[in-house]
């Protein structure tokens, strides 16, 4: 049942990431990558953002968002590669690259959020 357990775990991470990404990413992407750079809305100051990031709750929030979203990507992208490019025979490499990428990204997020304040 080892493989079943893996799949169940990855699917839970994928689903949780799907929910988090669906609820949170559009607004953040819109604000930080479109509205502020284009001057549609006044961009928050460096100090304001630092004050926010110093709050432990905000740091936990950002960590969860990054981690789950990355696992969401890893799972979906893995299957898209299988199906879209018909490369299921490269299973092991794809598996390692996708989930490995998610793990590394999560570690980077943890490091940055731990050391930022």
């Amino acid at each position: 049942m080892a493989r079943q357990s893996n799949e169940a775990f990855f699917w839970v991470m994928f689903s949780a990431g799907g929910v988090v990404a669906a609820l949170l990413i559009p607004v953040q992407l819109f604000l930080f990558a479109i509205a502020f750079p284009l001057g549609w809305l006044p961009a928050p100051s460096y100090e304001h953002l630092m004050a926010l990031v110093r709050l432990p709750l905000v740091r936990i929030y950002l960590f969860v968002l990054c981690c789950l979203s990355l696992f969401h990507w890893a799972h979906r992208f893995r299957y898209t590669l299988y199906d879209g490019l018909q490369v299921k025979h490269l299973n092991e490499i794809i598996f390692t690259l996708c989930y490995g990428g998610a793990v590394i990204g999560t570690m980077v997020a943890a490091y940055l959020l731990w050391t930022i304040a």
Binding site: M1, R3, Q4, S5, E7, A8, F9, W11, V12, Y79, T80, Y82, D83, Q86, K88
Partner: protein, 252 residues
């Protein structure tokens, strides 16, 4: 739009004794308001070409044998009217259901599918046989409602012809078989979910499904196999979590 009096059917022909690949043959058939694609095929077989080969039986959406690709879409040909395609100059392309090996003309090989059906144990599993005197296993309307939708499947395999996951790797257990397993898992009279989980919660079972959703869209009986599979994924996760708190040896 004006309905044409006749329409051209382009039918995929494959004779395993002579051909290495299918080719198309055109037939002109009359269009009547009540004629379905299957009527046109029967018209051709009866009057023009007795070698045209296809499966059919009940002619009313119950037997599930007349599924074919009609203009690239998996359809029950007994419920697909010529008139819906019959504008002037239009053609209807009839092919065997996609992703299956073809035995001849429009006939697909079903051995693999039937094997998968059997694998998910689609019958009521009850540990003890109750004596006849105890009467029937009763069920409330609410209990029936939980699985009724999944029980409407007629095994027409349209959902497999719609499923790219199955098309890319036929090892995938596939929509109808997984939905049928869920039909029994959700039945209050069944206690066999523990016996099915090994086949279902497997990389070639539910975890292979990427929720394309095409199976549900093409299902002529509104079974919603895609929904059944996602619902089972949640169940499988709970079973997986439960395996941490149940003592070892009681593997699910």
């Amino acid at each position: 739009m004006e309905m044409a009096e006749t329409i051209t059917l382009e039918i995929a022909r494959y004779s395993p004794e002579q051909d290495t690949a299918p080719h198309f043959q055109s037939f002109e058939v009359p269009v009547h308001k009540e004629w379905v694609v299957l009527d046109a095929l029967n018209h051709i077989k009866d009057r023009e070409d007795g070698t045209l080969t296809y499966r059919w039986s009940c002619r009313m959406g119950i037997c599930g044998s007349c599924g074919m690709m009609v203009n690239g879409e998996p359809k029950l040909t007994c419920a697909t009217f010529l008139a819906d395609y019959a504008t002037k100059g239009s053609k209807i392309r009839v092919e065997p259901l996609r992703y299956f090996p073809v035995i001849r003309d429009l006939v697909t090989e079903l051995g693999d599918f039937l094997g998968k059906l059997k694998k998910v144990k689609p019958w009521l599993i009850h540990p003890s046989q109750a004596p006849l005197s105890q009467g029937e296993f009763l069920q409330t309307p609410a209990q029936l409602e939980r699985y009724k939708q999944f029980s409407m499947c007629i095994n027409c395999t349209l959902c497999y012809a719609a499923c790219p996951v199955f098309g890319l790797d036929p090892i995938f257990v596939g929509p109808a078989a997984l939905a049928l397993a869920q039909r029994y898992n959700m039945d209050s009279r069944d206690q066999g979910s523990g016996e099915r989980i090994a086949v279902l919660a497997h990389p070639d079972g539910i975890w292979g499904c990427t929720f394309v959703g095409e199976c549900t869209r093409v299902c002529p009986k509104h079974v919603d196999p895609a929904g059944a599979i996602q619902q089972y994924k949640l169940t499988a996760v709970f079973e997986w979590l439960k395996s941490f708190i149940t003592p070892k040896g009681q593997d699910i």
